[in-house]
């Protein structure tokens, strides 16, 4: 039976995309047929699959890390912002035109159908699906519109790992608040926490880790360092001013080398035994 695992974040830009990629790499190396999945992705540029479908570049690179062919099922809904609160919407790789947020969410049934179908496709062809969430799962005012976080986890019946970014501080508040604002059934899906973008000696965070475990009753699977020099393009996160990398400027060899560096860092800093128990329970 296909296994699933999902990475959600306390906010955008906490590092979900790269951690998802690392997991794709690690389990591919262990011999699992692995696929990434993000139900809905908002991006400026897209990747064209062999079948001519448009998907997010991030999912294409995650597929590459998993040595799998990028497929439209890995990202069934793509949104390209076009200004004036309009986005061009792609469902299953094909443009269905410009829509406002309101028009988009009025098509929720159709969108859910595409998500369901894509996840079923992946389940037929892969042993492990690594799902990535979007933004925070605790936006209570947008809960009815959720297609990318707990809704996707529910459809895929995936356990969830919550990633928090410690770079700017406030990591305790963001984790506790996120868990507090989830529904009971959603909170039960969360099986572990990863602290990302730690600067300095992670030994200094041992007590902090203990606090989080005591407060949440969940294991902190590890503390990932801030990785400065990784040549892997991250998703474009709206408004973050940061140097953009274009994957086309990095050779395939160089990309694969960087995927391996990331996977090694991940295995070094994360309790892989605990993670395995969560995935393969």
């Amino acid at each position: 039976m296909t296994k699933t695992i999902m990475f959600q974040g306390t906010a955008s830009d906490v590092g979900k995309t790269l951690i998802t990629l690392a997991i794709c790499r690690i389990y591919n190396q262990q011999g699992f047929k692995t696929a990434p999945f993000k139900s809905q992705n908002m991006v400026a540029d897209s990747f064209i699959t062999g079948e001519g479908h448009e998907i997010a570049i991030a999912q294409a690179l995650q597929a590459e890390a998993a040595s799998s062919r990028p497929d439209v099922s890995m990202n069934p809904i793509l949104m390209k912002p076009q200004g004036d609160n309009n986005s061009e919407i792609f469902i299953e790789g094909r443009s269905v035109g410009l829509m406002t947020a309101e028009e988009y969410y009025s098509k929720k049934d159709k969108l859910l159908k595409a998500i369901n179908k894509s996840l079923n496709n992946l389940k037929e062809n892969f042993q492990l699906i690594v799902l990535e969430g979007g933004g925070s799962p605790a936006e209570v005012n947008l809960k009815d519109q959720d297609l990318v976080n707990m809704k996707a986890a529910e459809i895929a019946d995936a356990p969830v790992i919550l990633i928090a970014d410690i770079e700017r501080g406030g990591v305790f508040g963001s984790i506790i608040g996120t868990l507090e604002l989830l529904e009971t059934s959603e909170r039960e899906r969360v099986k572990g926490i990863i602290i990302n973008k730690f600067r300095g000696n992670p030994e200094r965070f041992i007590e902090g880790k203990q606090h989080i475990e005591d407060l949440t009753g969940l294991p902190v699977l590890g503390v990932m360092p801030y990785l400065d020099h990784l040549a892997i393009p991250d998703e474009d996160s709206c408004g973050q001013q940061r140097e953009k990398l274009d994957y086309k400027d990095i050779s395939l060899n160089e990309r694969l080398k960087n995927y391996d560096i990331l996977a090694t860092e991940f295995k070094k800093n994360i309790d892989m035994e605990k993670l395995e128990m969560i995935i393969f329970n």
């Binding site: 974040g9 306390t10 906010a11 955008s12 830009d13 609160n85 947020a101 933004g135 925070s136 605790a138 936006e139 209570v140 005012n141 947008l142 700017r168 501080g169 406030g170 990591v171 305790f172 508040g173 963001s174 984790i175 506790i176 608040g177 996120t178 507090e180 604002l181 300095g200 000696n201 200094r204 965070f205 007590e207 902090g208 606090h211 407060l215 996160s237 709206c238 408004g239 973050q240």
Partner: protein, 286 residues
């Protein structure tokens, strides 16, 4: 009984949520309204500094806030300046006096006593001279792995019973959780000091946000006293900006007036100023 000096403190759910800019705008707006206003930040970790006319280095953010309030930067507005010098070490200055280097996370009883006394003295003396003090916090008030007192946030707020406005950055999402989680982790005494909430860096459809604000007010029983827009870069010197900035008396800062004016104009209508001033009066605070 002597009239109580008004005071309000801007704290954040993390660094970089926009506390400095909001404090700068409040200094300008309130001073325009005729309040004799002073900024104050008890504890500032910054590599960028301003040399006051007494030859004392303070954080650059407070210098800008003093200018916004219409005054020459005064060393009392930033009693503790901490400069990261690498290798997990900090250099600590109290009212400009070098206290030496300390390892990150080290808590020294003598140093803490001195910091505590100086914060209290500086703030008390500013309170006797001003109508209103706009205080700025540092980082998040619930860093559970912090060693020693939280001088930059609740320690100072508690010492003078100062109402706190908790600010979250909504641009990356997760703002509701940041506020709910931060409040939950505060002690009951400190949570009571939080009298209002601010949402910063908002862009998008306000109608989608409205139910979120309603939820926050119901859930926390604290009013949202402002929703502030996302700004494209302002030309104001920032605390953590590199390359390092070292300003002094001779630095031409005349351009700041225009930038501060722009900021204040933009934020004025987004803040519930009457409510903030009412909280700052502290009469009704138990």
């Amino acid at each position: 009984m002597a009239k109580k000096t008004m005071a309000v403190m801007i704290q954040g759910t993390s660094s970089n949520v926009g506390k400095s800019l909001i404090a700068t705008a409040l200094c300008k707006i309130c001073s325009n309204q005729g309040f004799k206003t002073s900024p104050f930040k008890a504890w500032n970790m910054s590599s960028n500094s301003y040399l006051t006319e007494d030859g004392i280095k303070i954080g650059i953010g407070q210098a800008v806030q003093a200018i916004a309030a219409g005054y020459k930067p005064d060393f009392r507005i930033n009693p503790v300046l901490v400069k990261p010098i690498g290798d997990g070490k900090n250099q600590v200055f109290i009212n400009g006096e070098d206290q030496g280097q300390f390892n990150f996370g080290e808590s020294d009883k003598n140093l803490n006593d001195k910091i505590s006394a100086t914060i209290n003295e500086n703030l008390s003396s500013l309170m006797t001279e001003n109508d209103l003090i706009i205080l700025e916090g540092s980082g998040s008030p619930v860093e559970l792995n912090r060693v020693g007192p939280d001088f930059g946030n609740m320690f100072t707020a508690r010492s003078k019973n100062i109402p706190v406005l908790l600010t979250a950055d909504i641009s990356r999402g997760g703002a509701l959780a940041d506020i709910v989680g931060t409040l939950k982790l505060l002690s009951e005494e400190d949570r009571k000091l939080v009298k209002g909430l601010l949402i910063n860096k908002f862009r998008g459809d306000y109608n989608l946000l409205k139910p979120g604000l309603q939820f926050l007010e119901n859930y926390t029983a604290k009013p949202v006293v402002g929703v502030l827009p996302y700004f494209e870069k302002l030309n104001l010197p920032e605390e953590d900006r590199s390359p390092r900035l070292q300003f002094d008396q001779s630095t031409d800062l005349s351009y700041l007036d225009h930038e501060i004016g722009k900021l204040a104009n933009k934020l004025k209508d987004c803040l519930k100023l009457d409510k903030i001033l009412e909280l700052a009066r502290r009469d009704n605070n138990d």
